[in-house]
């Protein structure tokens, strides 16, 4: 009896170490992704004054709109955490519920962002207008692309949880996804501050 127990413990310990390695590898990916964003932030910082005679960020962006967008993403980061807590308790319905809310808020954020992009482009302030707008669309658009990928990933994970329940692999993927989603919220803090708040200051 104690043999089986020791064996179980050994197997579990090994699986845990492997999961830890996978999560650390994913963390390393996220940290290098930060460098991609850093170069886009640097480009934006250098080019934000080069409006080629066009309007600057102060005139183009509506701050209340951005605040609502920010709250949608921030809240989705929070509900993603709640989904993780539910998953750790193996509470399937709650996990699905919180993931659903996270997905909906992420979608609200993405739709608001694309609406704003569309408005800017229609008003003749597309990415080809000036250096400032090129760097703006590249920076914010890259973040939006990450969000889009996150939404697809989230949908796949939620259906997996719903159909197969909590396997070890699903829990590991959920942990990786929550790292990714929180990371996107952190990048947005800096887009919010540097592009929108400092742009209006």
């Amino acid at each position: 009896m104690s043999d089986i127990a020791t064996n179980n413990a050994a197997v579990l310990a090994e699986q845990q170490t492997n999961d830890g390695k996978t999560l650390f590898g994913f963390w390393a990916y996220i940290m290098t992704d930060c460098l991609l964003f850093a170069s886009l932030f640097a480009t934006y910082a250098v080019l934000h004054g080069n409006t080629a005679g066009g309007e600057s960020g102060r005139d183009l962006f509506s701050l209340p709109y951005i605040l609502v967008e920010t709250f949608a993403l921030l809240t989705s980061s929070f509900t993603c955490g709640l989904a993780m807590l539910a998953a750790n308790r193996h509470a399937k319905r709650q996990t699905a519920l919180w993931l659903g809310i996270t997905f909906a808020l992420g979608l609200v954020f993405l739709v608001m962002e694309l609406t704003e992009f569309g408005r800017l482009a229609r008003e003749g302030n597309g990415w080809q207008r000036s250096g400032f707008l090129s760097s703006y669309f590249t920076l914010v658009g890259t973040h939006g692309l990450h969000i889009t990928i996150g939404l697809v990933w989230m949908a796949a994970l939620a259906s997996r949880v719903w159909l197969k329940g909590f396997t070890r692999a699903t829990l590991r993927r959920l942990s990786m996804f929550s790292l990714f989603w929180h990371f996107l919220d952190i990048v947005w803090i800096f887009i919010f501050t540097i592009v929108y708040m400092l742009g209006a200051a």
Partner: protein
């Protein structure tokens, strides 16, 4: 038998570092910092330089809050590889961003219209 193995499972599952109160604290602090930054920007009570400094401090504070409460960086056991990578990343990002701003502003500053004229004239054949 059943009991023993379930005890073993319990003992070896990773200790849950995440807690509900942690997420709630992180969420509330993030909202406070976001609204603070927003109000400071829309109500022009501060001077321009003070506002810029305040916004950067608020963003850094919110970054730390989310790294601690949402990504659970402070809860890692030794060796703290994730923290190490994070610190490296922050250093790289600062070098990349501040370095670019510094160099490009410096270039901008040195390229005064006068200097550009002289330079272009010289290129044209040294008049």
């Amino acid at each position: 038998m059943e009991e023993v193995s379930s005890n073993v499972v319990h003992a070896t599952l990773p200790r849950k570092q995440a807690s509900l109160s942690g997420y709630i604290n992180g969420f509330i602090l993030s909202i406070i910092f976001t609204v603070w930054a927003y109000v400071a920007t829309t109500h022009h009570t501060w001077t321009h330089n003070k506002l810029i400094a305040a916004l950067l401090v608020l963003a850094s504070a919110q970054f730390l809050v989310q790294v601690f409460f949402f990504l659970h960086i402070g809860h890692e056991t030794k060796p703290r590889w994730k923290l190490l990578l994070l610190v490296m990343m922050v250093i790289f990002v600062l070098i990349l961003v501040l370095g670019s701003i510094w160099i490009m502003n410096n270039l901008n500053y040195r390229m005064t219209p006068d200097q550009m004229n002289t330079y272009m004239l010289k290129q044209d054949g040294g008049i």
